[in-house]
Symmetry: D2
Subunit: 134 residues, 4 copies
């Protein structure tokens, strides 16, 4: 199962060259991850009362520029569910054209930053999004 | 030779967990790259009249959180100078503690987005920053 | 007639005090204005090919803090349609609680920054949103 | 006495029209206020352990656009020191050209958002920056 997140490219995302300024893509990626956790029943505004899911690493390849008014679809899949970590793959496209592909690793931590084991209900909610290998 | 860029962690960089919201790191990374090009004589505000240097890929590993008031030093080195591309490694630390390490590839393109060969003066200005392999 | 724009408060909007960092409100306000122009048939991505509508002045009063997860509704009304200018009032509330109230003036300008008379179709599209005085 | 804060206009500040996207000005204004409090001995990273100074209202008039590479000087003066509030006037110019002028009111609040009387040392540190009326 995948999670999809639509994002129109707005004026605020674009730079003087008329294309998305890439740090804004990371805000979109964060918004997509936040919307995904809300979708599976663990909205950040609740989760963050006792824990958080900082990004430990993220690698992104930008394959074509996006312009003001483009309608992007971000597609999120989990690639690996560890004891405290979650591997994600997020790709974005406009129509049939790929715009970026990103892999990241999140870690569930408590308020002091120490890794936490995913609670069983979160593990159960995340599992359907883990990509099965062909 | 390396280029260093100081960045105090400001209120605007931090999230409700009191640590830097990672998309803000990418703004800092972009500011560092912009300051580096200014330092070597090719400020973006001039370069961008005819060309630009979009980021084609970027991979970042966040090793420890940064907090409001921390004094980060970003250190930039070039790892590879291709025909139109430039590999960079940017690391950030506060005192002796590493905060993130990032590798990226920039590409020099013209106003239509087509790759351009680095002009000789830019190549000459970049060369001292290419890390020699041990 | 009024234009309404929903905005959930996301992680990225909030500061270490756990409330919206006020410059992020201005991004929301801009998004609301952009969505309004799209709604009335003049999306910024089209308009900006030949013109733009920079903000000449903006005054905002923040009456209560907004927190992560709050569901804001922004309500936009026009207060005055001049030759080249447009007065707006934008208010935001969460449920029955007001969060901010803002008045601003936009000006239609050409690519060189010179004021343009609102074209008749834009004037016609804006007119229903002008608040009638009681 | 006034406090001045230099700010070069960077790539990240500018929009597809090649001028500063106005919400970025509010980040600059916030950075200027943060630097001012650091200058007078009350850096936000310390102050925020027990209090904060949210902006209650802010009014800004943008008089000329700023472009990538411009060197702005922001000038901050206090206009009024109340029991818990502080009126500020911040203007920005590039050379002799004014770019924006802003008035705002900050309020010192405790961790629960309740107004606090300015402690005497802060009052003493702020007083020299209160503009004397002619």
């Amino acid at each position: 199962m995948v999670f999809t997140y639509p994002q129109k490219i707005l004026f605020k995302h674009c730079d003087p060259a008329g294309i998305v300024f890439y740090p804004r893509y990371f805000e979109m990626i964060n918004d997509c991850v936040e919307a995904f956790f809300a979708q599976i029943g663990f909205p950040f505004e609740t989760l963050h009362k006792t824990a958080s899911v900082p990004t430990a690493e993220i690698s992104t390849r930008f394959t074509a520029p996006s312009r003001h008014g483009d309608h992007l679809i971000l597609t999120l899949e989990a690639t690996r569910l560890g004891r405290s970590s979650l591997g994600l793959e997020i790709t974005a496209s406009a129509g049939t054209e790929a715009r970026f592909a990103c892999t990241s690793t999140l870690v569930l931590v408590d308020a002091t930053g120490r890794p936490l084991r995913w609670p069983d209900p979160m593990r159960a909610a995340l599992t359907p999004y883990i990509r099965s290998r062909p």
